[in-house]
Amino acid sequence: MTSPDQTTLLEMQRRMLRIRRFDERASKMVKRGQIPGTVHTSIGQEAQVVGAAMTLDDGDYMTGNHRSHGHPIAKGSPLAPLMAELVGKAGGVCGGKGGSLHLADFKVGSLGESGIVGSSIPIATGAALSSKVLGNGKVSMAFFGDGAANQGCLYEAMNLAGVWDLPVVFLCENNQYALSTPAHTVTSGVIAERAAGFGIAGERVEDGQDVLAVHAAAQAAVERARSGGGPTLLEVVTYRYNEHSEGLRLGTDYRNAEEKETWVGRDPIAQFRRHLAQEGVATEEELDALEQEVLDEVEQAFEFSQESPYPEPEVAFADLYTEPIGA
């Protein structure tokens, strides 16, 4: 296992920034009524997302969940079609038919985010099965939350992947809450420790705000998968800064202000920027430039999302089958 080179380190920061700025912009757009429905941001969880996804090769597969923008962004998907998708435009990555909850960019191996909690875990497992049968060496990664870790399909998937040695990584983003529900009130035992009973590798990354820690653990899991060592359940402890979804206002205070402050104090992007500067990977100027580049990218994505037309009415009937089946 090699540690990431300079280019990779800078790319990590770039992708984390992309997620942060993209989601900040999306949040603003929801408030302004520029996005129908809502979105779930990954703000605060960038290290966990990027550290994991950047261990994958271009041809590798990935599935995600409702907290959905970070995954394809971390896998290298261009921002403009993603942003246009949130707005429901024809130029969206799914032609406007998916929206925030159902982003997918097959070109980069993103097989789809899922609005149904837990539901995409079997899909990722199946992608790993096809890698195994075809012997093409591809690895598959399923992203899901601490809440999803109580869906039975995860354990069916872990067992199947275990008996068949499928090249899949089950990546649990434990941001400690499922909507309003604290994980510890609905989770018996420790998620990562559930791996052992299913005969597969399990690990808990306690500092999910440290992109390098996440990367190292994920890399070990991906290498294990690719080399025929079978699946891994990786639990990464992290935190979301925003409400469960943008625009949601709950009457209850299920998280306290103090807790949030502590986590913001350990911001993954700020931390990693300090690290990059200290280690001489980049100068402050270079890091400033990087920030600006990402801001520009997001701005361009926003513009694209505004200019792209809405889909034509007949699009509602396309893509249901390979060919329309008639009335």
Partner: protein, 356 residues
């Protein structure tokens, strides 16, 4: 009879509160019910004035669950078989599939299979979030598939008063009930009796009387059909609008009597077309009231496509006043003035709809 104004969602909350107060065996089970995320379990800390269910009834009876629909549904069934009367909040109707085996193989079958030994006094609430740009995973209207499962009862109220009265009946009943609440109706306000009351299952409401054509409408199609009827009245077409309120049991008698009078039928149903409730109602009528029929039956449904996210293409998919009005014209041969455009959605008061 004194009444008070209530939203649809408020009526659901009020029915739950009354039921909880009336019977200690009633418990509420579901994801995020403790924090009242969906607005039917009272306050939450900063909404104390409305009555926090957790404070009122305690954590023993307000059961915040993991995200595990299969065991939630099965455990509620098992609890119902052994003395509790659970109300299960499954939030979105699109999540019911997760527990389909429990619904079909346990909830619907246990009383029957065991020769009447099991009783299942349990209510499964869920809401259909169609028309709100939530995309294919959150917009389903799956009641037709549950109608095909003998042993379940199904309510689809369209007014606050019906929602409250039917839900009380549902909780009282020893049979399993599924509610399908159209989220677009949650904010709808209406008059509700102040005293406790119950509405029996299997009794349709005649939402508007008329003589030229019968429109059987479900969920959001009810207010839309009423709008269409209003407009068509101006053209001299007299439309009778029937809201079945419960799909199982279905009050086919009221429908057949209406068709016997009007000779014409439009069924407006937000479900997907194939094997929809509309299909069933059309089939019943052509079987049992064929001689009364003066024209083809018209179904106005959501077409057989999945639900796209983009509002530009989602909104037109569901039955609305135009499509219902057009169908009425078709079966009555009437070519009157066009009905007014639908607004983008029925108004609502809820911020909590935006989380999925």
């Amino acid at each position: 009879m004194a009444t008070t104004t209530m939203s649809f969602l408020g009526a659901i909350g009020a029915a739950q509160r009354e039921a909880m107060e009336a019977d200690e065996r009633v418990v509420i089970i579901g994801e995020d019910v403790e924090a009242n995320v969906y607005g039917t379990t009272g306050g939450g800390k900063s909404r104390k004035d409305k009555g926090d269910f957790l404070e009122l009834f305690g954590a023993n009876r307000i059961r915040n669950t993991p995200i595990s629909e299969e065991v939630i549904v099965g455990a509620a069934a098992g609890a119902a078989m052994t003395g509790l009367r659970p109300i299960v909040d499954l939030s979105y109707s699109s999540f019911l599939y997760m527990a389909m085996d429990q619904f079909v193989n346990q909830v619907a079958k246990n009383r029957y299979m065991f020769g009447g030994q099991a009783s299942l006094p349990v209510v499964f609430r869920s809401a259909m979030f169609y028309g709100l740009s939530t995309g294919a995973h959150h917009s389903d209207r799956p009641y037709p598939m549950f109608m095909n499962v003998p042993g379940l009862k199904i309510m689809v109220p369209s007014t606050p008063a019906d929602a409250k009265g039917l839900l009380r009946t549902a909780v009282d009943m020893d049979d399993p009930v599924l509610t399908f609440e159209a989220c677009m109706l949650w904010g709808l306000k209406g008059e509700v009796e102040e005293d406790e009351y119950r509405i029996p299952f299997g009794q349709a409401a005649i939402a508007r009387e008329g003589t030229d054509v019968t429109v059987v409408a479900i969920a959001t199609a009810v207010p839309e059909a009423l709008k269409a009827a209003e407009t068509l009245a101006e053209d001299g077409v007299s439309v009778e609008v029937i809201d079945p309120r419960t799909l199982v049991p279905l009050d086919s008698r009221t429908i057949l009597e209406s068709v016997a009078k009007t000779g014409r039928l439009v069924v407006a149903d937000p479900a997907h077309r194939t094997c929809s409730a509309a299909a069933e109602i059309a089939a019943i009528v052509v079987e049992e009231a064929f001689d009364s029929l003066k024209a083809p039956i018209a179904r106005v449904t959501t077409p057989d496509t999945q639900i796209p996210f983009s509002p530009a293409i989602e909104k037109p998919l569901y039955p609305n006043r135009e499509s219902i009005g057009e169908a009425i014209r078709r079966v009555t041969g009437e070519r009157g003035a066009s009905v007014p455009e639908s607004p983008q959605g029925i108004d609502d008061e809820l911020s909590t709809q935006a989380h999925r």
